[in-house]
């Protein structure tokens, strides 16, 4: 056993501990990129409504790799690495746009919307001199393709041939939650926010799956009953523990034996303009909030009427980018759109709720970065992995780390 191996030995307590080196180790991070992001996983990359017309493209990422999603001539979505097949220059610098062909400015290699190399200048030389060798075949030099899956208006991509079909990948339980939001109603893009946080990417996913913290950290969620420990709630997970849905029903701002125990509950707090929380029920069933974590890079947010994808792009062990795409449905009336835009105040880089989360993950990173000697304790609710019918539990963290260890061989 080398020093490094010893350093990366999971604590004896197992999945009820999260050793701090998983947030800081550079070698482990490289392994995560290979095994997770570039391995047999579906990375969320875009919404279909971002590229509605032929030739529309969007720049996104699979792991750290820049990728392009392009609506092809046949109307299907194609995905490629955003990298010219010639010398590796980034093909596209714009986040979105429309094109009939894609041309790298360096030597003008030109591709069609399917990623096929159409041609390049000087291929037969100039005045009989130079040019590509006679056996150079355009068909061998297309853009590197990705496998792409579209379901209910959301686009996922993978670099690995072995990634199972999307539906199998999510499993029936999580697929049902997914379909609740992405059930086929055409989507309407409302806008973007992007932020870079100084924390390990896993801390963001943990933050969503850490159901306990919401009742303690967030005065807004707690006071206005958007997500609170005394409300009917559940934690549902895929068999491997890697995808999860955290579900709850809105409660009232009422001082009870339970809310009285919660320090961040403020019975006296009233909004001067309550339109912010003028929520309406729009999905079947009793749940008013479902926060999904879809392995490895998507947080799908349905909090009341604010819907968003939060796409994670890892940037080394101690940073990640969080790309928020807020959306509604194409058939929303004006009032519903206004409601979604107003409730968007809760979320994003300036969100009344999510400011706290962005700050706290940075704070955890600052704490764990000081050494490899410690481990987080994830024992709330016991030491098991079973779905729970309440939120006073770390079960979604234990299940996450059980799945993570298996993938990573830890």
């Amino acid at each position: 056993m080398t020093t490094d191996d010893r350093r990366l030995t999971w604590p004896a307590e197992g999945d009820s501990r999260a050793p701090y080196w998983i947030y800081t180790d550079e070698g482990l991070y490289r392994r995560e990129l290979e095994r997770i992001f570039e391995g047999p996983t579906w990375s969320y990359v875009a919404l279909e409504c971002e590229i509605p017309e032929r030739g529309d493209y969007k720049r996104s990422a699979v792991g750290e790799k820049s990728v392009l999603l392009v609506r092809g001539e046949d109307g299907a979505v194609n995905g490629f690495l955003n990298r010219c097949a010639h010398r590796g220059a980034q093909l596209c610098l714009q986040d979105t746009g429309r094109a009939t062909t894609l041309t790298c400015p360096y030597h003008q290699w030109t591709y069609d919307l399917q990623g096929k190399l159409l041609g390049l200048p000087f291929s037969r030389g100039v005045k009989g001199q130079g040019g590509m060798p006679p056996d150079f075949n355009l068909a061998d030099h297309g853009l590197t393709p990705l496998r792409v899956n579209v379901r209910g208006g959301a686009i996922f991509a993978t670099l690995d041939e072995a990634t199972p079909p999307f539906e199998t990948y999510l499993g029936p339980k999580i697929l049902a939650f997914y379909d609740r939001v992405f059930g086929g109603r055409p989507l309407r893009l409302l806008g973007y926010s992007h932020q870079r946080l100084a924390s390990n990417w896993k801390l963001m996913i943990e933050n969503i799956r850490d159901t306990c913290h919401a009742s303690l950290l967030h005065v807004f969620l707690v006071t206005f009953g958007l997500f609170r420990a005394d409300q009917p709630s559940k934690v549902q997970m895929a068999d491997d523990g890697l995808h999860a849905a955290v579900v709850s029903e809105r409660g009232r701002q009422e001082l009870t034996a339970e809310t009285g125990q919660i320090q961040s509950f403020r019975p006296d707090l009233a909004l001067e303009d309550p339109r912010l929380l003028d929520t309406v029920r729009e999905f079947p069933g009793d749940a008013t909030v479902v926060m999904h974590t879809i392995w490895p890079n998507l947080i799908l947010q349905q909090q009341s009427n604010t819907l968003a994808t939060r796409r994670i792009v890892p940037r080394g062990p101690s940073a990640f980018d969080l790309h928020w795409t807020f959306f509604g449905y194409a058939d929303d009336d004006e009032e519903m759109t206004r409601r979604r835009l107003r409730q968007a105040n809760l979320m994003g880089p300036g969100g009344l709720v999510s400011i706290d989360d962005g700050e706290i993950v940075n704070r955890v990173q600052a704490g764990v970065s000081t050494g490899v000697d410690g481990a987080g304790v994830v024992e709330m609710g016991g030491r098991d992995y079973a779905d729970a019918d309440h939120m006073v539990t770390d079960v979604a963290l234990r299940a996450f780390y059980r799945g993570y260890r298996k993938v990573m061989g830890l």
Binding site: D273, I355, G358, E359
Partner: protein, 157 residues
């Protein structure tokens, strides 16, 4: 008849006051710089240019401004920081619509144990009105340039 003219000094004074209220830690006075009905929004240049309606912050009344100010001052949890606004290139325009003004802003953010960073730069696109208390904002749109915000935006821009 209400006054529509505005001098450069009056404009300068309003923007200086605006930056001071936020940077000086007196956010409770921030709503006082608006008149009802009012609208305040922070929007990325990306959304603004593409006509996408999402705001990073949106306040549609004095009440919402006060709610946001209260949240920033007392409810949100964030690391201590100092902000410094630099507001330049202020230009006013008076026409049939009333008074409008534009200005550039840069906000420097200082956190513990870190060098001061530029949080964001951008442009204010504002509509102003005279109230008995002085020149005030009727509409304030903060269009920020950043494609990636370092951390979070914990106060109004």
């Amino acid at each position: 008849m209400s006054r529509v003219a505005v001098s450069r000094d009056e404009l300068e004074e309003l923007y200086a006051e605006y930056g001071d209220v936020i940077d000086g830690g007196t956010l409770e006075r921030w709503p006082d710089l608006f008149v009802e009905p009012c609208r305040y929004r922070i929007v990325s240049k990306e959304n603004y240019d593409r006509g996408l309606p999402l705001s990073l912050m949106l306040c549609e009344s004095l009440g919402m401004l006060r709610d946001r100010a209260l949240a920033s001052r007392k409810l949100n949890v964030y690391a201590p920081r100092t902000w410094r606004h630099s507001i330049t290139q202020i230009r006013g325009l008076v026409d049939g619509e009333g008074i409008s003004a534009q200005a550039n802003f840069a906000i420097f953010e200082t956190l513990q144990d870190q060098p001061t960073q530029i949080l964001c730069t951008g442009r204010y696109l504002d509509k102003l009105a005279w109230s008995p208390a002085g020149l005030r904002f009727r509409e304030k749109t903060c269009v920020y340039d950043s494609t990636l915000i370092p951390g979070s935006i914990v106060f109004p821009l």
